[in-house]
């Protein structure tokens, strides 16, 4: 009997070892992304030496900050097997309302941020209710609400823009101010990433989101309230979009009706690059951060490299397609490895 146990433990030990190896392979994505980014940076630096200057890096990260804030929210939605096409419109709506409030009442910037977030959450809850309670497919529900939010923005703005001279300095300083020498936008993004990292990895709710995406049936059996989770993720993304709306307007010092048109696709592209699976269940904060960084670098570097503006769209599309296809191939080989390891 004892012999048996020892032998078994032996086998299991072996097993665990190869399991660890596998776990490393599945981390390959992030590693691969980092390697890719490093090579890309080296290449860009070689072509244009002003790329890796502190100033440029600062600019690049500041520009990618809003994108990365949205991406982490979108990740949660994608993890639950959903999608949200309305965020560009939410950004415009919240940005427009806040800018108008600022121009008329010169409110405290913190209050404005709060208002922006609340507007976003309201929009997000609307998305969530249509999806969770009424059961409309996410792509259709958010598509419809995208139209509604965008239309509302135009109605509210009445075709006018809110320009920088109408905004208070304190409002503009949301995006230009610094904390310990770091731009506020970066600080906000970092704070959000820390919060999300914590919530996703260290709270029950965070894990429940993944459970719902990984296996909705089992989630139900485990007593997880799927509707609650769905509404939560859509309103979270809504809130982040509302925040992004305020930051956007503050950064560019202008609120327009067509702000951030089509931005949702860029955000989704970041998530896909970052290894978030649209089939749900999988996606890491670190991956999304790297995805945002990669796209930020691309957006920063294509002009630096003197790439014709007409090639930029094509390059972006090709990189996204190649990234997702590579991801699939890697995953397939991992699965195959799993099978080979099995007894027959």
């Amino acid at each position: 009997m004892n012999e048996h146990v020892i032998q078994q433990t032996d086998n299991i030990e072996k097993h665990t070892l190869s399991n660890k190896l596998l776990a490393n392979i599945s981390k390959f994505r992030e590693l691969g992304l980092i390697v890719f980014i490093v090579i890309l940076c080296a290449f860009i630096q070689w072509r244009n030496s002003s790329f890796l200057t502190i100033e440029n890096i600062n600019d690049m990260i500041t520009n990618a900050a809003i994108l990365s804030i949205l991406a982490v929210g979108m990740m949660l939605v994608l993890v639950t097997r959903g999608i949200d096409l309305s965020i560009g419109a939410i950004i415009a709506l919240s940005g427009m309302i806040c800018a108008q409030l600022v121009s008329q009442f010169s409110l405290n910037p913190l209050l404005i941020i709060l208002i922006g977030i609340v507007i976003g959450i309201v929009c997000g809850v609307l998305n969530g209710v249509l999806i969770a309670k009424i059961g409309i497919l996410p792509i259709i529900a958010t598509l419809a609400l995208m139209n509604v939010f965008r239309g509302l923005t135009y109605r509210i703005s009445n075709g006018e823009w809110v320009s920088s001279y109408q905004m208070t300095d304190s409002f503009l300083s949301i995006a230009t101010g610094k904390v310990f020498g770091i731009n506020n936008l970066i600080v906000i993004a970092i704070v959000i990433y820390i919060i999300f990292y914590y919530v996703i990895n260290h709270t029950v709710i965070g894990r429940q989101i993944y459970a719902v995406g990984s296996n909705p049936e089992s989630a139900k059996v485990s007593g997880i309230n799927e509707n609650k989770i769905l509404i939560l993720v859509y309103s979270t993304l809504g809130g982040l979009s509302g925040l992004a709306g305020v930051l956007w307007v503050s950064k560019f010092a202008s609120a327009q009706g067509d702000t951030a048109t089509g931005y949702e696709l860029t955000v989704i592209a970041v998530c896909i690059l970052g290894g978030v699976s649209i089939a749900g269940g999988a996606g890491k904060v670190s991956g999304v951060l790297l995805g945002a960084l990669l796209l930020g670098i691309l957006q920063n570097a294509l002009p630096l490299l003197n790439v014709s503006p007409f090639w930029q769209t094509g390059i972006q599309g090709a990189i996204i397609l190649i990234a997702v296809i590579l991801n699939t191939l890697v995953k397939r080989s991992v699965d195959r490895n799993n099978l080979v390891r099995r007894k027959i």
Binding site: G135, L137, I139, I140, V148, G314, A318, V324, T328
Partner: protein, 339 residues
């Protein structure tokens, strides 16, 4: 009938009816009736609001203002019945149109050849989508077509940069504007395509297989339906219809640019969803889709006649879409429920 007990079931005669009974109730409880009602309402409201609306000429002429993108609705309906989606169609329109113009203008081929090339490019775009989707089943159609959407548009920009390309022959430009009697060519083309697709979906084995795939992909595959082949074919059809749209669009504008038809995919999906094409697959009919095309088209046209700002139109169409997909999900009174 649903809750017939096992015992009862076992006593049923072993003689099955193979003629369908006609039930007036289920006949009138079809989605299409609601659409006809909405279309009727659109007509009534529009004719009250604008004296110009019910002018026979303008009514027929109006169809040419919204029918260009409507060609894509048919393959999109097939795609959505199969539980897929294609958001690259707008970019396909742009790319195939741009290639057509380039082949005609820069390479000096005759327009007839250019049109064929345009259709071929559309088909190729669809083929790429279809193959990527069936070869990488782990990726959903949303991801693949999101990628190709950006890629196709990007290629169109690489070819034409920010230039327009036109100078098509007169007969080509007449194509999108001409009428036979009072009826615009584009309406005739639409009717032909509508009939072809309606027959394809409802009267052929191909259409039956499309429904089968949408209702239960696994069971279809197990039953020997060539699921992959049919999916690829349907995406190719979408590409071809996008190219048809590109031809009409180029003809109507006398030129084409890389930035045309942006956002068409969303309008087309809206039409299909309103037409009762179930977004989870397996359900929906062509008649509903056709009705939805005219509902949205005449709504836009009619409200345009009374000069409603386009932003209000956005809101109305968004709300209509939500209403359309939400209505069947809401709990209807019992007597209204079908089977």
């Amino acid at each position: 009938m649903n809750n017939k007990s096992l015992a009862e079931e076992n006593y049923l005669p072993n003689n099955l009816a193979n003629k369908k009974e006609f039930s007036l109730k289920s006949f009138f409880l079809q989605w299409e009736w609601l659409l006809i009602l909405i279309l009727f309402l659109v007509f009534i409201i529009n004719s009250i609001l604008s004296p110009y609306f019910l002018d026979a000429n303008s009514l027929l002429g109006a169809t040419s203002t919204f029918l260009d993108k409507a060609f894509i609705v048919f393959p999109m309906a097939l795609i959505m019945i199969m539980r897929d989606i294609d958001i690259s169609v707008g970019s396909t329109v742009a790319l195939s149109g741009v290639v057509m113009a380039t082949v005609y203008n820069s390479f000096g081929f005759p327009m007839e050849i250019a049109i064929l090339v345009c259709l071929a490019v559309g088909a190729l775009c669809g083929l790429i989508n279809g193959l990527l989707i069936v070869k990488f089943k782990e990726l959903s159609a949303v991801i693949v077509t999101l990628g190709t959407m950006i890629l196709f548009r990007g290629i169109a920009y690489i070819i034409l940069e920010d230039q327009a390309s036109g100078n098509f022959p007169d007969w080509f430009n007449y194509f999108g504007w001409g009428t036979a009697g009072n009826i615009p060519f584009i309406l005739i083309a639409f009717i032909i395509v509508a009939i072809v697709f309606t027959l394809l979906l409802h009267k052929t084995t191909f259409g039956r297989n499309v429904y089968a795939i949408g209702s239960n992909p696994t069971a279809s595959r197990f039953s020997g339906v060539s699921v992959d082949k049919i999916r690829v074919i349907v995406f190719v059809l979408a590409g071809v219809m996008a190219a048809v749209t590109a031809i009409f669009l180029a003809s109507r504008m006398g030129s084409t640019r890389p930035n045309v038809a942006s956002g068409y995919e969303l309008e087309v999906i809206t039409m299909a969803a309103l037409g009762g094409i179930s977004t989870v697959g397996g359900k929906g009919r062509m008649l509903g889709t056709i009705l939805a095309v005219f509902i949205i088209g005449f709504l836009q046209y009619g409200l345009g006649l009374i000069n409603i700002p386009s932003q209000t139109l956005l809101i109305i169409i968004g709300a209509l879409l939500i209403l359309a997909v939400a209505t069947p999900k809401l709990k209807l009174p019992k007597f209204l429920l079908r089977k």
